[in-house]
Subunit: 233 residues, 2 copies
DNA sequence: ACCTGAACACCGTTCAAGT
DNA sequence: ACCTGAACACCGTTCAAGT
């Protein structure tokens, strides 16, 4: 008799929190926020809707865990040797890219200060601020400005992605949405809305990532001038 | 016979878009995001769920209109004679206060560039940037930084309000939530998370409105230094 | 102990039927 | 023309019943 190697059949990897989160991310990436359902999820996992509750508390918990998984490696992008400003820019861009690739993250992302990932990002950004010489009593206010800006852009991106999805496919529909807005702006009254009319062309052609980085730089530049109300213009 | 003045009975103000939006805002203020339902709304308006669709397209439209109504007067806060920076601060604070008083606005607020209110805010902020001497080719990038920051803070406030509502009433529960987070931060590993531990106390005691204004000032200060990557630290 | 899936109490939206 | 409200196709969540 041929000696069969004792390789236990290793049954179809059983239900686990990781497998649930992995499947959730796949569903969200494929179909957007509305595509994650306890029914669609349990179908993909070949189980019943109730089984999921053995591993996660509720849908909010599930969404938070999925966001956490997306941000998992975001903090490690800072290469040793870079300046504090470079590290902040790198981490911010990594967060932007993650939220750009998975737009549903932006809308589901409240502070979630309980999640360890957010704490890790906070720690990373905070250390750079310390290295930049931000005085200790302003540490909290300063990191929270950075994080609020980053998460705010993510949330707006999420809204845009949802609008683009509603108006059509994934590719050129963003241009179509932006173009329609720009056209509407051009039709506004010239006396009442001169600025919006003038800025419409820039809006139509803008690059989200470039503008995002410009905002980070603006905040970093502002650090040098401190928090006091600036001199009267 | 007494001459009755021809004052037509003016039947119980009939269903209208304004009345629907007004009732929606009341429901959202009283019970948060989950309290607005076509059933709860139609009950309050003493009608059937279907009647509402005669005046609004769908729930997204309803939420957008409610947000719009909240921001209606936000732009008029700038008093003539104030400096551009003062006007920007005043408008930003007015938006913060509106989103603070109606936390559901923050989470429902995507760009919504179609809404006239958002265009008006854009126009107001943009004019001040022009007055501050921001070069024309940077107009769009700069207003979008301001707006993304403002809307981002609003979104985070919305998340906090929802968390506070879940954990208890309205008053001291915010302190409880913040306190619980700060306590958790204090228990983190001292070698791995020195910054987060050190900043926990500030976080516990922070004032959202003060920090928000600090962020606006940071951005305004950054304007003077331009958009180029700052010198290596 | 863990999975199953019918059942419950909702939800947004529609539409024949009324007035 | 406009309102009505039952009905439809969902949703998150629960829980007796199975294995």
């Amino acid at each position: 008799m041929i000696k069969k190697i004792e390789r236990r059949p290793r049954r179809e990897e059983s239900l686990s929190r990781e497998r649930i989160i992995e499947a959730s991310i796949a569903l969200l990436d494929e179909g957007g926020e509305g595509a994650l359902t306890f029914r669609s999820l349990s179908e993909r996992l070949a189980t019943g809707p109730g089984a999921i509750y053995g591993h996660i508390a509720n849908k909010g918990d599930l969404m938070a865990a999925a966001c956490d998984a997306i941000f998992q490696r975001t903090v490690d992008v800072g290469v040793a040797g870079d300046s504090p400003r470079d590290i902040i820019r790198a981490v911010a861009l990594a967060m932007f890219d993650a939220m750009d690739a998975h737009p549903w993250v932006g809308s589901a992302l409240a502070w979630n200060a309980g999640q360890l990932t957010m704490v890790r990002i906070l720690e990373c950004l905070g250390r750079q601020l310390r290295a930049l010489g931000v005085p200790a009593q302003r540490h909290w206010a300063t990191v929270s400005v950075l994080l609020n800006y980053i998460l705010g852009v993510g949330g707006q991106n999420a809204g845009n992605a949802q609008a683009a999805r509603a108006h059509g496919g994934t590719g050129a529909s963003r241009d179509a949405v932006l173009g329609a807005i720009a056209d509407a702006w051009m039709r506004l009254d010239a006396d009442e809305y001169p600025f919006v009319r003038a800025v419409a062309a820039q809006m139509r052609a803008h690059d989200d990532r470039v503008d995002f980085l410009a905002g980070i730089n603006l905040i970093l530049n502002g650090l040098d001038a401190g928090y006091a109300a600036p001199p009267i213009a």
